[in-house]
C-alpha cells in the first residue's frame, strides 16, 4: 500500500467520519427533513422512525434499552446534564459528588459550577499510573454523597479505570455512578449492565460519526435514575433534554455505533498491534517514558514523554506530515502543561516533553513506519540542540540548578 500523507494521529481529538456514516445521514437533510416531534404527518413519522432506529443502534452498542438514550449535542453537554442534572434532581438526598483530577474539563468545570451552587466536590488524586485508588474512593463517600463521576477511558493517556470495581462500591453505598465514556465507547466493549453504570456520556465524533451529536445514557431500572433538564422547552427526550432533534446527525451517530458494534473487536486488535509497535520502537530512544498504566488502556492510544526535548518544538519537526498532539503548554492557549500528566505526578519538564499518539480506523502500517522514523529522527536532532540533554549526558543534576522561573 502507498504511504498516505499527511498522517492523522490525533483520533482522540476527533475522528474522521466513516463514509458509510455520511451515506446514512444524507437522506435526512433535504428529502426526509421532517421534525421527529411532528406527530400528525408522514414527514414527522419518517424522521421519528430514523431517530427510533438510531436510538436502537446506539443502545445496542452499550447494552442499554433504547428508552435509556437521551440524545444531546455531544459529550460536553452530556457531562453537564449528568452532573448538574443529578445535583438538582437529588438535592434532597445530598450534595456531595466524588470525581478525580484527570477528568475532562467538561466534568471538572461542571463540578466547579456545582460548587458555586453550594455543592461539595471531592477531587480524588489518581495514582502514578493514572488509576483511581478504590480504597480512597470508598473512604471519600459520606452520607451526603449522591454521585461518583469517574471517566471510562482517559483522553490524554488512554488509561481505562476499573469501572466494575467503582460501580460495586457505588452500589454498596447507594450512590449513583456516572462515567464519561467518550473515548471508550466504540473502541472497547462498554456494557452498562455488566459495568454497573447509571449514567454515561459519549459522543459521535470520537467514533467516526458526525460532530455535534452525542448521548447521555440514563438508567431506567435498578435503580431508576432521573436528571433535571438543563435545557427547557418542548419536553423532548423524556423531558430531560428539550430541542428539536438533530435527525441527520442522530441517524449518522446510530450508523457509527452499528459499525463499531460489528468491527470493534477486529479494529481494536489491529490498532493495538500497531500502537504497540509504535510504542516499542519509540521506547528504544533513551529517556523516553510511556505515561499511564499500560495494561489498562485504550487500544489505540499511547502517550510518551521524550525527556529533554519540548513537545511543541518536537512536533514542528514533522507537523507538515503528521498531526498529533502534545501535553506541552506552548501548544495551547494556557502556559500550563497538561493537568492530566501533572496529576500522574510527572514533573513539568516531562509533561512539556510529551506526545499523544491516537491511532484510528484509517491508520496504516506504512503511516506508523513513517511516524517512527520521523519522531525518532526529530528527537535525536533536537537533543543535540538541547542544553538539558548535554547536562544529562555530562551527569549534571538538572534539578539542583537554580532556574529563574518566570
Amino acid at each position: 500500500m502507498d504511504l498516505k500523507l499527511p498522517i492523522y494521529l490525533d483520533n482522540n481529538a476527533t475522528t474522521p467520519m466513516d463514509p458509510r456514516v455520511l451515506e446514512a445521514m444524507l437522506p435526512y437533510f433535504v428529502e426526509k427533513f421532517g421534525n421527529a416531534a411532528s406527530r400528525n404527518h408522514s414527514f414527522g413519522w419518517v424522521a421519528e422512525e430514523a431517530v427510533d432506529y438510531a436510538r436502537e443502534q446506539v443502545a445496542k452498542l452499550i447494552n442499554a434499552d433504547a428508552k435509556e438514550i437521551i440524545f444531546t449535542s455531544g459529550a460536553t453537554e452530556s457531562d453537564n446534564l449528568a452532573l448538574k442534572g443529578v445535583f438538582e434532581m437529588y438535592a434532597s438526598k445530598g450534595n456531595h459528588i466524588i470525581t478525580c483530577t484527570t477528568e475532562h474539563k467538561a466534568v471538572l468545570d461542571s463540578c466547579k459550577h456545582i460548587e458555586k451552587l453550594g455543592g461539595q466536590v471531592t477531587y480524588l488524586q489518581v495514582q502514578a499510573d493514572g488509576l483511581v485508588d478504590l480504597g480512597e474512593l470508598e473512604k471519600a463517600i459520606t452520607d451526603k454523597t449522591i454521585l461518583i463521576a469517574i471517566m471510562y477511558g482517559n483522553n490524554e493517556i488512554g488509561v481505562i479505570q476499573d469501572v466494575k470495581g467503582i460501580s460495586q462500591i457505588a452500589r454498596k453505598h447507594g450512590v449513583l455512578f456516572f462515567s464519561d465514556a467518550t473515548q471508550a465507547v466504540g473502541k472497547v466493549p462498554v456494557d452498562v449492565m455488566a459495568d454497573g453504570i447509571d449514567l454515561m456520556a459519549f459522543s459521535g465524533h470520537k467514533m467516526y460519526g458526525p460532530k455535534g451529536v452525542g448521548a447521555l445514557y440514563v438508567r431506567r431500572k435498578n435503580p431508576r435514575v432521573k436528571v433535571t433538564s438543563q435545557m427547557d422547552g418542548g419536553g423532548h427526550e423524556r423531558g430531560m433534554r428539550s430541542g428539536t432533534l438533530n435527525v441527520p446527525s442522530i441517524a449518522g451517530f446510530g450508523k457509527a455505533c452499528e459499525i463499531c458494534m460489528n468491527e470493534m473487536a477486529d479494529e481494536a486488535k489491529r490498532l493495538s498491534k500497531m500502537r504497540d509497535r509504535l510504542e516499542a520502537a519509540l521506547s528504544e530512544l533513551e529517556e523516553s517514558y510511556v505515561n499511564g498504566n499500560k495494561d489498562h488502556r485504550l487500544p489505540h492510544t499511547t502517550n510518551i514523554s521524550f525527556k529533554y526535548v519540548e513537545g511543541e518544538g518536537l512536533m514542528m519537526g514533522f507537523n507538515k506530515n503528521i498531526a498529533l498532539s502534545s501535553g506541552s503548554a506552548c501548544t495551547s492557549a494556557s502556559l500550563e502543561p497538561s493537568y492530566v500528566l501533572k496529576a500522574l505526578g510527572l514533573g513539568d519538564d516531562l509533561a512539556h516533553s510529551s506526545l499523544r499518539f491516537g491511532l484510528g480506523r484509517f491508520t496504516t502500517d506504512e503511516q506508523i513506519d513513517f511516524t517512527i522514523d520521523a519522531v525518532k529522527g526529530t528527537v535525536t536532532k533536537l537533543r543535540e540542540m538541547s542544553p538539558l540533554w548535554e547536562m544529562f549526558k555530562e551527569g549534571v543534576d538538572i534539578n539542583a540548578i537554580e532556574w529563574a522561573h518566570h
Binding site: 519540548e310 511543541e312 543535540e384 540542540m385 538541547s386 538539558l388 548535554e390 540548578i401 518566570h406
Partner: protein, 136 residues
C-alpha cells in the same frame, strides 16, 4: 498556528548550535529559562579580547520552534559585534525579523535575556561590574 518561513528555516537549519569552553576567561555563558516552563536557552559568546569583538557565538535550546529560531538568530547577530553593541540587541528586533506572533514574544525575550546573561558572565569573569537589571 502557522510558523513564519524564517522560523521554519532556522528550525530546520539552525545556525551555531554547540558548546564553547566555559572555563575560558574570554567565554561568557548565559543560561536562562527553566525546564518547568518548557524553555531553557543557553547562549555563549567568545570575545576577542584585543578588539572587544565577539568572534564566536553558540547556543543550545530546549523549547518550541520560535525559541530555537530566536536563539539561532541571536547567535548570528552576535558574531562580529562588540560586546557593547551586543547589549543593544532588543527582543523586538527578533520579533520583527522572525515575524513572531504575540504568544511567541516570550521566546524572543528569552533570547535577549540569554544575551545579557552571557555578557554579564563575561564581564564578571574579567573583573568588570555586573550590569544591573535596567541597564542589562
Amino acid at each position: 498556528m502557522a510558523y513564519s518561513e524564517k522560523v521554519i528555516d532556522h528550525y530546520a537549519n539552525p545556525k551555531n548550535v554547540g558548546t564553547l569552553d566555559k572555563s575560558k576567561t574570554n567565554v561568557g555563558t548565559g543560561l536562562v529559562g527553566a525546564p518547568e516552563c518548557g524553555d531553557v536557552m543557553r547562549l555563549q559568546i567568545e570575545v576577542d579580547q584585543e578588539s572587544g569583538i565577539i568572534s564566536d557565538a553558540k547556543f543550545k535550546t530546549f523549547g518550541c520552534g520560535s525559541a530555537i529560531a530566536s536563539s539561532s538568530l541571536a547567535t548570528e547577530w552576535l558574531k562580529g559585534k562588540t560586546v557593547d553593541q551586543a547589549l543593544a540587541i532588543d527582543n523586538m528586533d527578533i520579533v520583527e525579523e522572525l515575524n513572531l506572533p504575540p504568544v511567541k514574544i516570550h521566546c524572543s525575550v528569552l533570547a535577549e535575556d540569554a544575551i545579557k546573561a552571557a555578557i554579564n558572565d563575561y564581564r564578571v569573569k574579567n573583573g568588570l561590574p555586573e550590569l544591573t537589571a535596567e541597564k542589562a
